[in-house]
Symmetry: C2
């Protein structure tokens, strides 16, 4: 039975669930910002995400199947999205001789312009982060990578290009720093990548 006029029990939710609630808010903010941007640009949210993705990723990732896995959508949905973007003249398709079923996506000049603009949609989220001190940023980054790594191992996020899931990565352990066998150098915490272009996934036995 309650004795307090305020429901202290509910209010004093554990710190962990408050953190989850906070993440939920931030996630919501992303959705809202993306939605707003989509109205401004006259594109759907997924169209914008594809354009932004194409801005920064290498050839073997610029394909329908990869995009479907990346965004947890069916190939049909992506195929549709690509068709629309193509009709709008924002994309070009490059067919390679070694596999004519598939093609690589490129942004047209207009597409690149739009993508650059779209990429600013998360500005409102970046601003408060810019204001943190370097140490705060590094700790925040470390915690986020830890969470993402866990989510990846739990199978929630299918595709990953983080150092922690890369076969070139040698774990930080027993006082040894993070190390990349491709770059052949030790990495500071803040140097770990979230979206490495050279990422080569570890084979996972499930």
């Amino acid at each position: 039975m309650r004795t307090s006029p305020f429901d202290l029990n509910q209010q004093n939710a554990h710190l962990e669930s408050k953190i989850v609630a906070a993440f939920e808010r931030v996630a919501q903010a992303f959705r809202v910002l993306l939605w707003q941007e989509s109205k401004v640009l006259g594109l759907s949210p997924i169209q914008i995400q594809v354009l932004i993705f194409l801005l920064h990723h290498a050839a073997e990732k610029r394909k329908v199947s990869y995009l479907a896995a990346e965004f947890n959508l069916s190939k049909a949905t992506i195929s549709d999205t690509i068709k629309t973007l193509d009709q709008k003249g924002l994309l070009e398709k490059e067919y390679l001789p070694q596999d004519t079923r598939s093609y690589i996506l490129h942004l047209s000049a207009q597409g690149e312009k739009l993508a650059q603009q779209a990429a600013l949609f998360a500005n409102d989220i970046q601003q408060p982060i810019d204001r943190l001190t370097l140490g705060e940023k590094e700790r925040l980054f470390a915690q986020l990578t830890g969470i993402i790594d866990h989510l990846n191992k739990a199978g929630v996020i299918s595709i990953q290009r983080m150092c922690l899931t890369c076969s070139f990565y040698v774990a930080h352990r027993n006082g040894m720093p993070h190390y990349c066998r491709l770059l052949e150098k030790a990495l500071e915490q803040a140097e770990l990548r979230i979206d490495c272009p050279e990422h080569h996934p570890v084979e996972v036995i499930r």
Copy 2:
């Protein structure tokens, strides 16, 4: 031209955007988890969110209009969602004499059971957070509240029940701790609320 091998500036130049990218991943994880849960329970994502919301919020917030603002959706969408949940027997409507246009939503016994189960959907996100040390949790929480506060002030998130936007809140400043004039007590960082049932928004002049 940069010559130093310890070019910290360069190394950390993109740390902010890496953090944003990491948040984006976590946001994606929420979407995926909610989607999965919706398939398991045979409810839509928004239906689940409404059920969970009703589990913890007070009468004046359990209304169509409030829910629409809460989730950044139109009243029509929420109205529809409520109709479906009602038809499934998960809700009950309470009409008050002082305003018969509106009604307050309550979970039925079955609805509450479902909501309890649905609320576990974020478990995968909570797990890695549980493993952080108390200090890490506190810093993470502080950084998240700072970001959310900024998003709120930037108008991205319309509804807020955080201490930082509450009229009972007296700011942490000049060595003074956070303070709540309703509870009449000082609050530790970790005691700040993300979703306070007693929240009374500050009037904002725009």
